[in-house]
């Protein structure tokens, strides 16, 4: 084949061009640490990584929901425990008061104690978590869902549940409504105990010990309910954390560059490029004029 100047130039440029574009791609990969940055880098891997990124974001969303819910659930749990302790204290008071020898001032001081317990229980039932009433159903803006009026505690919140999604289709009610608190009969028993103490009605006092124990059982029921929510939340959290690790690993497999491989390729491209430059400059200087 006859080789002409134009051919030599075209071929040299074409080869050098191919080398520089390889080098520039490798430079991109090494300096960003990513092999897939744009869809055209590898459409299939890009689309897999893209889907997994969306799954990861969804996963992180669930984790944030769990983070937020766990404070609420802990506060609810604490409130229930405190109410249960008040019940235990009330039982103790009732037991002391039911002793036949106790009367007069002592009985009055015990009544005052129960009165204070009612105040405590009310304030716990009206407590909030970051400004939201814990036991008002979804009517969380209500600052006092429970009010005491002439010896009767009434509830003005609603019976709706507050729902959260902990992971795909795993929904849970994270609240105990005020009605459920009322249904434990705590306030009714406390107010009737107070009335009995005021009246010195030993029989009612005696009877309230057993009913208070039922109240305590009711609270255990509520604590168990919230405990199981917490349990399923923790399980979901563990699953999410494991899934997150997996996803991150998959995404990294798809997107991230194998640095060792990239650097080795870069070095071999570099050598090839230098050789190509060298040979191009030598060849372009070769010319019959040097010998004429």
């Amino acid at each position: 084949m006859r080789v002409t100047q134009m051919m030599m130039m075209r071929n040299s440029l074409e080869r050098l061009n191919r080398r520089t574009s390889n080098i520039s791609r490798l430079q991109d990969i090494i300096s960003t640490g990513k092999e897939i940055e744009k869809p055209s880098d590898d459409p299939v891997r890009f689309s897999r990584a893209e889907r997994m990124n969306r799954m990861l974001q969804r996963n992180e969303r669930f984790q944030s929901t769990i983070d937020r819910a766990s404070g609420w659930i802990d506060s609810t749990d604490l409130g229930l425990q405190q109410l249960s302790e008040i019940t235990a204290d009330a039982i103790e008071v009732a037991q002391r008061a039911s002793d036949g020898t106790i009367e007069g001032e002592v009985l009055e001081s015990l009544r005052k104690k129960v009165e204070a317990m009612i105040e405590d229980a009310l304030s716990i039932a009206n407590s909030d978590y970051v400004g939201k009433s814990l036991f008002a159903g979804t009517d969380t803006g209500l600052s006092e869902p429970f009010t005491l009026n002439s010896g009767v505690v009434s509830y003005t919140g609603n019976d709706d549940v507050i729902r959260r999604e902990f992971s795909d289709n795993l929904f849970a009610a994270i609240n105990i409504t005020g009605q459920e608190i009322l249904d434990t009969q705590l306030f009714q028993e406390l107010t009737s105990l107070e009335a009995a103490l005021a009246a010195g009605d030993k029989a009612t006092i005696q009877a309230s010990i057993d009913s208070m124990k039922t109240v305590q059982d009711n609270f255990s029921g509520l604590t168990a309910t919230i405990g199981s929510v917490k349990k399923s939340m923790t399980l979901a959290e563990d699953r999410l954390a494991a899934a997150k690790l997996n996803l991150q690993e998959f995404i990294s497999d798809e997107e991230d560059a194998d640095m060792v491989e990239a650097i080795i390729k870069f070095e071999s491209e570099q050598t090839a490029y230098q050789a190509a430059l060298r040979v191009t400059s030598e060849v372009s200087q070769m010319n019959i004029l040097q010998y004429l």
Partner: protein, 452 residues
């Protein structure tokens, strides 16, 4: 035979070698001229017939002046270049498209959408909060402005393609009329310079549009595209672009002045640009419109049925009038007062978050052509990516094919400096030898004269 004849032979030899030297010099100076085909002079012996059996050489002459060219290779090159032009333009346009979508950066549509769903999640976790509402409104507005920007970028790009089409057609027309005037000169007799110009023009035209080339023996060229004549002898046709409005869509067609028929232009730079203007860009814009429209209607459906903190329902989150990517925005009510954002399906209980959760669940709903909005957009990205990847591969292989053919052409028609310089030495020596002949004849004559 007279001695003076010898002088004549010497003179002819000087002239012939000078002419050959001329050609060589022309080849050397044009070694890098695009489209130049090397020339060659044929030098032949001249003789006179003395009798039927005897002839005598009376010197040399430079006769025909050749342009060395292989028409079959040219034809192959002209067949392959339209595809080269097409793939180059495909790659350039798609590269821009991919760049505009701003993949994997903070402001990209994927990340903005994800932030939008995140903000609804935060609101679902804290339905009483004003701050969370403010963030939802901000992220909603950001989804709107991101889609608006993408839409504007695509429209700008489409306009740019349209002016490129006009410019390409202009330069095509200019080249066609140049070919026509070359044809006019060819009729008076072909010459190598005209032929080089003609072939160079055909090459440039075939990069823009696919053409059938028919070169007559006289050197006159006839060009057709999809059966329609561009140049025929001394007549040429001008192409013109027409924008056809079809409903709310606009298409560009290219046709001949006064002809109803529009040729199919599938390859060449022009084919690629037309494809981008008429099909690709509208498709991409339509996909963005689908995302915007489905998002607006799905979010609004839920939102309008929900109650906000003040117990009011029926408020739209996105402006229900604006359902395309070009104008999607959050409603002015929500924009002015984010506290109007609804989270609950009943007027009671501000802690109720069912509407917020329903809106968040839209992320997983197959709203757009049986796909979630995220998948739909992901598919669009992947599709553009595969197209770009494909056009790069095509471009690489087509560059190799045409490069190979051009090498073949240059192997025949190109100038080799080594060859020309060698010839120069050869002709120079012959020239020197001829002068020697003349001097020898002079000496011979002197000798003769001294006898007298």
């Amino acid at each position: 035979m007279a001695i003076s004849n010898l002088l004549e032979i010497g003179k002819r030899s000087l002239l012939a070698n000078q002419s050959a030297m001329n050609t060589t010099a022309g080849n050397i100076t044009n070694a890098n001229t695009p489209g130049y085909s090397r020339r060659r002079v044929d030098i032949s012996n001249i003789s006179v017939q003395l009798s039927s059996l005897q002839s005598i050489g009376i010197g040399v002459e430079a006769d025909t002046f050749y342009r060395i060219r292989m028409q079959t290779i040219d034809a192959r090159i002209w067949q392959e270049t339209p595809r080269l032009g097409q793939f180059e333009t495909d790659e350039r346009v798609l590269n821009q498209v991919e760049g505009v979508l701003g993949v994997n950066t903070d402001g990209s549509l994927s990340s903005v959408l994800s932030d939008f769903w995140d903000s609804w999640n935060e609101l679902a976790n804290d339905p009483e909060s004003q701050t969370a509402r403010r963030i939802v409104a901000d992220k909603g507005a950001l989804v709107g402005s991101t889609l608006n920007n993408l839409h504007r970028n695509f429209s700008d790009m489409r306009n740019q393609v349209s002016s490129e089409i006009d410019a390409t057609v202009d330069s095509l027309n200019r080249m066609v009329s140049q070919l026509e005037s070359i044809n006019r000169e060819m009729i008076n007799g072909a010459n190598p310079d005209l032929e080089d110009q003609r072939d160079l023009l055909i090459g440039s035209i075939s990069k823009l549009i696919e053409v059938d080339v028919d070169i007559e023996d006289s050197g006159v060229v006839n060009l057709r595209t999809d059966g329609l004549t561009l140049v025929s002898g001394t007549e040429s046709t001008e192409l013109e672009t027409t924008v056809v409005t079809d409903g709310d869509k606009q298409r560009m067609t290219i046709g001949f002045e006064g002809h109803e028929f529009t040729p199919r232009i599938a390859s060449g730079e022009l084919g690629s640009l037309l494809n981008a203007y008429n099909r690709r860009m509208p498709d991409y814009i339509k996909s963005l419109d689908t995302i915007a429209g489905k998002l607006v209607s799905a979010v609004n459906d839920q939102h309008e049925s929900g109650y906000n903190l003040d117990g009011i329902s029926g408020i739209s989150f996105f402006d229900p009038e604006n359902v395309s990517a070009g104008n999607i925005s959050i409603s002015s009510e929500v924009n002015n007062d984010p506290s109007l954002i609804a989270t609950r399906s009943s007027a009671t209980g501000v802690g109720n978050n069912d509407i917020a959760m329903n809106i968040l669940a839209l992320e997983q709903r197959q709203l757009a052509n049986d796909k979630t909005i995220g998948d739909y957009f992901g598919n669009l990205l992947t599709e553009i990516g595969s197209r770009l990847d494909e056009s790069r591969l095509n471009l690489n292989s087509q560059t190799l094919v045409t490069g190979q053919l051009e090498n073949q052409r240059d192997s025949v028609s190109g100038v080799s400096l080594d060859e020309e310089l060698t010839k120069m030495v050869q002709y120079e020596q012959a020239y020197q030898a001829s002068t020697r002949v003349i001097r020898t004849v002079e000496e011979m004559m002197d000798t003769l004269m001294s006898i007298v």
